[in-house]
């Protein structure tokens, strides 16, 4: 267990890294690949149980990565920064644009417990009946997800985002989760989406190992940062600061204007949190800044 040393044994709540043999394993046979993805999913299950982990924030940030991947599958080049901008600089009456729409779909899909209604709202153009069908898929978790992915893409070959959201929803349900955890989108490659049957299922197994290798370190990082933010929270005396901290613990990024404080107070609070090392400025800009844990 070479990784044991990196976990602090004195802190039972700390998030254990993914055992190295899962990601470095040269699993080539279908049995190996399935075994490794099973191990990765089981580890993710334990990570998700950690009380230190800000669950909503974790899902929201994974949604951002999933959106970035989905935009790539759709032939777009927007990175995480452009996606965040599209989400935070679009007023309610404006259109977020094609890439912004992809992020919006993911963000909405992870925000509420998985069910037909909210997913139908998140996925413009997919019928509630089709969504219900996807959520009712039967079989072992990864098989279900692959079947959903294949079915949606067979029907609408260009609806990669919808297909991935529904496949991840089916997977999360099969794993007994109430909320959607974006995984497949993080690990699949563009050419994987053209596979079918057994080959697609193999690709999904591989993708899940790759996704866990991103999601677990992210969870550990967020747990550490969240602990920092929680520890400085009592020092903040601005009215509305407690609510702001809560928002930072549940959302990937926030513009100061979105905080429940007057403009100047919100900007000061963000500066203070940055100075305290509790949140980061995410854009590197002097104006139109966005902050996040």
């Amino acid at each position: 267990m070479p990784n044991a040393a990196t976990t602090d044994p004195g802190d039972p709540a700390s998030i254990a890294p993914l055992p190295g043999w899962i990601t470095s394993g040269r699993g080539e046979t279908p049995e190996d690949v399935a075994f490794l993805s099973g191990a990765a999913l089981a580890h993710l299950h334990l990570v998700a149980l950690s009380p230190e982990l800000p669950q909503e924030l974790w899902r929201d940030r994974l949604a951002l990565r999933a959106a970035e991947a989905s935009a790539g599958f759709a032939g777009r080049r927007e990175g995480q920064g452009a996606l965040r901008d599209a989400a935070h600089l679009t007023k309610a009456c404006d259109d977020p644009g094609p890439a912004g729409a992809i992020l919006r779909a993911w963000t909405r899909a992870v925000a509420r417990p998985i069910s037909v209604g909210p997913l139908a709202k998140a996925l413009d153009g997919v019928t509630p009946e089709a969504i219900a069908l996807c959520l009712d898929a039967a079989g072992a978790p990864v098989g279900r997800a692959a079947a959903v992915l294949e079915a949606v893409l067979a029907d609408t070959p260009r609806a990669e985002t919808a297909a991935l959201i529904l496949a991840d929803a089916a997977l999360s349900l099969a794993l007994g989760r109430k909320h959607l955890l974006p995984l497949l989108a993080l690990g699949l490659k563009s050419r994987d989406l053209r596979l079918t049957g057994e080959a697609l299922q193999q690709a999904c197994h591989r993708a899940l190992v790759r996704a866990a290798a991103q999601a677990v370190p992210m969870a550990a990082d967020l747990a550490r940062r969240a602990a920092r933010l929680r520890s400085v929270a009592p020092k903040l005396r601005a009215r509305g600061a407690a609510k702001a901290v809560e928002m930072f613990l549940s959302q990937d990024a926030l513009a100061p204007a979105a905080l429940p404080l007057p403009d100047r107070a919100a900007r000061r609070l963000c500066d203070r949190l940055v100075a305290l090392g509790a949140v980061r400025e995410l854009t590197g800009r002097d104006t139109f800044r966005l902050y996040g844990v």
Binding site: A74, G75, D85, A86, L89, T90, K91, C93, D94, D95, P96, G97, P98, G100, D124, G125, T127, E129, R158, T283, R285, T287, F288
Partner: protein
């Protein structure tokens, strides 16, 4: 604003199933016929029974229209009735559709194409592309024809609006999604004139 029309009998409980279905089908066709823009599933759902699948009705309608010179076309997240391309010369010869044609100059079209390919893009972004100022009038012309709308603001001084294309844009150019646009790289390779593979 209730567009449902409170007295519209959606469920048609007193009709036998096949007549009920036929009536729903006619309603969908009527709504599509009356609308110049694509109609979303949600809106079509308001004229048929609660449990009726709009998609199945649309599929049946498409079969019904098999021998007609117009068809039901999926545009973005909605549908519209549209004449089949084969009849374009006839319609043009009769000049019957003149009033509906987009009034766009060649340069308007170039700007629209640039917005479609680079969206979200602001006037400043367009100036970089064309090497000259794009007038507010031109943007206004595209917006009044509902081909573009405002997108996210740009994170720079003055927070200028960016522009993005609409579903009407897709409908006007016979596209189902933005993916039907030629790839920018293909365009560059072909000197802006190459046929698109997509």
């Amino acid at each position: 604003m209730s567009r449902t029309g409170d007295d519209l009998d959606r469920d048609l409980a007193d009709l036998p199933p096949d007549l009920r279905w036929r009536e729903w089908l006619r309603r969908i066709e009527a709504v599509l016929f009356a609308s110049a823009a694509p109609v979303a599933r949600e809106e079509l759902g308001r004229v048929v029974g609660q449990g009726a699948s709009v998609d199945l009705l649309i599929a049946d309608l498409a079969v019904d229209l098999m021998g007609r010179p117009y068809e039901v076309a999926k545009v973005g997240a909605g549908w519209m009735l549209r004449t089949r391309p084969a009849y374009a010369p006839a319609i043009r010869a009769a000049a019957a559709a003149e009033g509906q044609a987009l009034s766009l100059s060649e340069f308007d079209l170039a700007v629209l194409a640039a917005i479609a390919l680079h969206q979200p893009v602001s006037r400043e972004g367009l100036r970089e592309i064309f090497g000259r100022d794009i007038s507010r009038d031109l943007i206004g012309r595209l917006a009044t024809q509902d081909l573009i709308t405002t997108g996210p603001r740009e994170p720079r001084r003055g927070a200028p609006h960016t522009f993005v294309t609409t579903e009407t844009f897709l409908a006007a150019f016979g596209m189902e999604s933005l993916r039907d646009l030629p790839d920018p790289e293909q365009l560059a390779d072909a000197g802006l004139a190459g046929p698109s593979e997509a």
